[in-house]
């Protein structure tokens, strides 16, 4: 089968599943069949993605198949289609593999939900995979935007899955709000690009000024979607969604769409050094800031959420340094080990019925498989040599080394230490230490849940060795070298772990924990946005409301009244008498003839 058809199948299969579940209500309402339909769709997607991958391993060339979409006269304003290259195929594999693992995990994890909710859950999962694949295979920015908005919608629906719970509903709205705010950047960026170049291609070459504007606007959307400072605040709240959803959307794939966008639009970003400079700093600040906050979270999922924001910061910093491949590589390894961490956390939460680290402890004997999975993920995230995360993080840091980016390099090294430190804290608190009342009743989850963990553990361990291949796919340079960066980075990881054992092994608290906790509970960024909302938006809204109520409504009411009155009186013309109708025909002819003669 041709690559383009495979890519289309990979994209459309989940859409068929979703459509089937949406239209055939009994399937959805019964619950279990919905899971099977969705899993089948994802399996077909993954199968097609693997075949695409095999095609590329055999040396298949890039394929771009498009067809005109929006017609303007006889010209196509926009195209849709698929682009199969070294970026989309690995990404497709990552997305489909993680999605399938997460969905399999969910079959057992969501088992106690009522059938209708269960069915709704899997329908949304199918919708999500479809939307994400649209993003991945997009040949241009417009289609990417369409997928981008669709993943935003499914994210909203899945965060608010437990919509009866006020905190979940609020978190969903907050996530929607913040990301939509940022998405305006995407929309305006597209507009500027289209007006300037007449296309939605990321390969177009506008003037330097336009390129700066477009990339800056696109980057605003990236800040929102990839939870960068200062729009990161929606991500911790998004943990209100079911844990497998956090694993798939809010760790592995959807939040990485921002990074993916920059990787895709790299030719545009290459024309805008100013934007890249900003990206470098935003990424660095996020990486450090979020790592600090991850250190004092009491909720295991929130640790992971802040950690996600922090790791996305690494990727953004690499992109800012102009090393798109480093960011993309880290995206890939991160997707695997972070999904693994979240699913392992889900397994723990399922066993102890609580998110709080206080309720865990001593779980390593009760849940050996889950513990092993979590530790593998944590070591990978910490960047311990040999694990996947080490290679990609090393590449990110190495891309900053010796290019005049010493300050970000140092900060990110510090953040690498923090990463190992806070992950050490979680591992010690949850799996070592004393059993709590809740954790004493815990027992290992079944194979349906540990199976996906084992599958994801493999790439979390080994995907780092694929760097060379991935680089050849995107035609980037890649060589492992023993220099300053890998030595410092691995020392940071090991130091962080040692420090965690020393400090938390005895039940201690992190240094500066008090300050960080204050920072966390005071949540300055949240407050700033809230007051900005209150003063700015509500102020404008009330002004607009006044104008609307008294000026526009008055005008509208008058127009409406005048029209209805006019209509009512004009209705008298429609007498119902056929002689009047015939007369009207005559009048019409006379008027037309007059027009004709008087011309």
């Amino acid at each position: 089968m041709s690559p383009s058809n495979l890519a289309i199948i990979a994209t459309v299969a989940p859409a068929v599943a979703a459509l089937l579940l949406l239209v055939v209500a009994p399937l959805r309402h019964k619950g279990a069949p919905a899971a099977w339909v969705t899993l089948l769709g994802s399996l077909v997607s993954l199968g097609s993605a693997i075949m695409l991958l095999l095609g590329r391993v055999d040396g298949g060339a890039d394929v771009r198949v498009t067809t005109p979409w929006i017609q303007e006269g006889s010209r196509a304003m926009a195209e849709i289609g698929v682009l199969i290259d070294g970026v989309s195929v690995p990404m497709l594999i990552i997305v489909c593999l993680v999605a399938l693992c997460v969905q399999l995990f969910s079959v057992a994890y969501m088992h106690d939900e009522p059938p209708r909710a269960y069915g709704r859950y899997f329908t949304l999962h199918a919708m999500f995979l479809f939307s994400m694949n649209i993003v991945v295979v997009s040949p241009n920015l417009l289609q990417l935007f369409a997928g981008w908005e669709l993943v935003g919608l499914t994210s909203y629906l899945l965060i608010g899955f437990y919509f009866a719970k006020p905190s979940a509903a609020q978190a969903a709205v907050k996530a929607f709000w913040m990301t939509k705010l940022a998405d305006m950047g995407f929309l305006f960026g597209l507009l500027v690009l289209f007006v300037a170049t007449g296309s939605f291609e990321w390969t177009s070459t506008p003037s330097a000024q336009v390129a700066t504007w477009v990339t800056a606007l696109l980057f605003v959307a990236v800040i929102g979607k990839s939870a960068q400072f200062p729009l990161h605040i929606w991500l911790p709240d998004a943990m209100e969604g079911p844990t497998p959803v956090s694993a798939l959307l809010h760790a592995a794939t959807m939040v990485a769409a921002g990074v993916f966008l920059v990787v895709r639009a790299d030719p545009l970003f290459a024309q805008a050094p100013e934007t890249r400079e900003v990206m470098l700093w935003v990424g660095t600040v996020t990486a450090v800031f979020a790592a600090g906050l991850a250190l004092v979270q009491k909720d295991i999922k929130k640790v992971l959420a802040f950690s996600t924001a922090s790791q996305l910061g690494y990727m953004v910093a690499a992109l800012g340094a102009g090393q798109a491949f480093a960011g993309f590589f880290h995206l890939g390894t991160h997707a695997f080990f972070k999904a693994l961490l979240f699913l392992a956390a889900g397994s723990v939460i399922h066993a102890v019925h609580s998110n709080s680290l206080e309720d865990m402890g001593g779980l390593r004997k009760k849940m050996p498989l889950t513990t092993a999975a979590f530790v593998i993920g944590a070591l990978s995230l910490a960047g311990v040599p040999g694990f996947a995360g080490f290679f990609s993080k090393d590449l990110v840091l190495g891309s900053l080394e010796g290019k005049g980016h010493w300050i970000p390099w140092t900060l990110l090294m510090g953040s690498a230490f923090l990463t190992a430190f806070y992950m050490g804290r979680v591992v010690i608190k949850a799996f070592w230490g004393n059993e709590s009342e809740k954790s004493s009743h815990a027992h290992e989850s079944g194979l349906a849940m540990t199976g996906p963990l084992m599958v994801l553990a493999i790439p979390s361990l080994a995907s780092g060795f694929l760097g060379g291949w991935l680089a050849s796919q995107v035609k980037a340079e890649y060589h492992v070298h023993l220099g300053l960066t890998p030595i410092v980075a691995s020392s940071m990881a090991i130091l962080g772990i040692v420090a965690a054992v020393v400090v938390f092994g005895r039940g201690g608290k992190a240094p500066f924990a008090g300050v960080l906790e204050k920072l966390d509970t005071f949540s300055l960024v949240d407050r700033t946005w809230a007051s900005g909302y209150r003063i700015g938006l509500l102020g404008i809204a009330s002004l607009a409301g006044w104008i609307d109520r008294y000026l526009i409504d008055g005008l509208m009411n008058f127009t409406g009244w005048a029209t209805l009155e006019g209509g009512a009186s004009a209705r008298k013309l429609q007498t119902g008498l056929v002689r009047d109708y015939a007369l009207m025909v005559v009048v019409g002819v006379v008027v037309l003839v007059l027009i004709g003669v008087l011309r």
Binding site: Q71, L564, V578, V589, I595, G596, V597, R599
Partner: protein, 478 residues
């Protein structure tokens, strides 16, 4: 093959189908329902054949020309015919079980006339085809006669009568106008008009345009529209509200652009005036209507106004977009009428208020009606949006900025009345709760319309391409 046979093959096939249906009925023993399905199948066969057999060509003296332009219209008519036959089937076998074959035959005869219109390049042929399209409609409009439930007002004959009297007046004007035109030029060929036409010819042209305007239901020749829509059988109105309008559009386009292409500066203002008047009057009169059929009637007047804006542009793009508009309008309006028909069958009335609770009783019907209404209102991403957008873009490029602005302003009224129907469908609680029963044929017809409106809304390109091809063939006189 004989050139005449070739170019008229599809039209002959439809006429033959009509005679076949009548003959089968005369033999007896076949139920009307079967005849209905058979009619639809025959039309379907002709439609399929139109994709495999190319009737392109012309006959001696250029009286009739067949090409992409003609094929486009023929397919539109055939689709409308199939959908209308399927939509009428249940109603017909229930209400007038003793005369079903005639209904189908008359519809087929009208279709035959329609199918000849777009290719005619001779005044006599054009007029005969135009009348062949029109006369069966008078009969069909009055089809319900006096049968039906005793408590229902007997409005069938009135509906037919009003259509007939205004139709007769319009035909008289057309004929008189033609007499003037032909008398001045001395030829029945459409292209015989010299570049320097006399004033008398101009007067004649205006009269012909008026006659076509009647079939389109354009202001001020629209007076019959609401009354006939209200009185005639609703499934037939579904047909009447789309197919003859496409026929009228074909005739008007042929007459103005093909016949009087040199006189564009002369007829364009007249078309613009009719278009403006139709948009304004249609939209404003639709506002206070309480009967959905009347509301859709006036809405149809407004929609024809939009099409005429595109025609007024006089450009190839304008023609193409008018074609796209009318083809999508077939699905949208036919579908809307059929849903209203299905709902009225169960709730016993066509008032907007009677639609209350429809979405709860039959979610699919409710959703379909909503989609059709959104399409008529021109909301993205249903097909009506593209239709309106393309038409206005074509007009804007041709320099008709004033008409475009006027159209956009009055289209806002459209939102108001379309959505008020949708509101009573979705928001209000109805008294009846039981699901609406609709026959298979009716459901099938609605489903096709729904699929087309949604599908073309997401992917308008194939139809746009077809319309462009047809328009370009037309402009190159094929």
């Amino acid at each position: 093959m004989n050139a005449w046979l070739q170019v008229f093959s599809l039209d002959f096939a439809v006429a033959g189908a009509a005679i076949l249906i009548l003959a089968l009925d005369a033999m007896g023993g076949i139920s009307g329902r079967v005849l209905g399905w058979f009619t639809a199948a025959l039309l379907g066969a002709v439609l399929v054949a139109s994709f495999f057999f190319d009737p392109s060509g012309s006959v001696p003296h250029g009286v009739y020309v067949a090409g992409a332009w003609v094929l486009f219209f023929k397919r539109v008519f055939l689709v409308a015919g199939i959908l209308a036959v399927l939509g009428s089937l249940d109603w017909l076998s229930e209400r007038t079980p003793r005369r079903q074959a005639e209904y189908y035959a008359l519809m087929l005869f009208s279709l035959t006339g329609m199918m000849v219109v777009p290719g005619a390049r001779d005044w006599v042929l054009l007029l005969v085809a135009f009348e062949l399209m029109g006369i069966p409609l008078y009969v069909l409009a009055a089809w319900a006669k006096t049968d039906g439930p005793a408590d229902e007002p007997k409005v069938g004959p009135e509906a037919g009568m009003k259509l007939f009297v205004t139709g007769a007046a319009s035909s008289a004007f057309t004929l008189f106008g033609l007499a003037l035109v032909i008398g001045e030029t001395g030829s029945t060929a459409l292209s015989a008009l010299p570049a320097q036409a006399t004033m008398l010819t101009h007067v004649g042209m205006m009269m012909v345009i008026a006659g076509m305007g009647f079939k389109l239901g354009a202001v001020p020749f629209h007076m019959w529209v609401p009354d006939t829509y209200q009185g005639a059988p609703t499934p037939f109105v579904a047909f009447l509200s789309v197919a003859p309008k496409a026929g009228g559009l074909a005739a008007l386009t042929v007459v103005t652009l093909s016949g009087w292409g040199t006189q564009q500066t002369f007829w364009a203002p007249a078309i613009a005036v009719i278009a403006a008047a139709s948009m304004v009057v249609g939209n404003i009169f639709a506002l206070p209507q309480t009967d959905v059929r009347r509301l859709l009637g006036f809405s149809g007047v407004a929609q024809i106004g939009y099409v005429l804006v595109a025609l007024g542009a006089g450009s190839q793009e304008g023609v193409a977009m008018a074609l796209f508009f009318i083809a999508t309008y077939v699905f949208t309006n036919l579908g809307a009428f059929l849903v209203v028909h299905a709902a009225a069958q169960s709730s016993g009335g066509h008032e907007t208020a009677k639609l209350a609770g429809l979405s709860r009783r039959s979610p699919w019907l409710g959703a379909s009606l909503l989609v059709f209404l959104l399409s008529l209102a021109g909301i993205p991403f249903v097909v009506g949006f593209w239709a309106k957008l393309f038409v206005f873009m074509a007009a804007w490029r041709a320099g008709l900025g004033g008409l475009v602005v006027l159209g956009l302003v009055v289209a806002v009224f459209g939102l108001f009345y379309y959505l008020s129907v949708a509101r009573s469908t979705f928001m209000s609680e109805g008294t009846a709760q039981e699901p609406i029963r609709a026959g298979l044929a009716l459901k099938l017809s609605i489903a096709v319309c729904l699929a087309a409106v949604v599908g073309l809304g997401l992917w308008p390109k194939p139809l746009v391409d077809e319309a462009n091809r047809a328009a370009s063939a037309f402009m190159q006189r094929h």
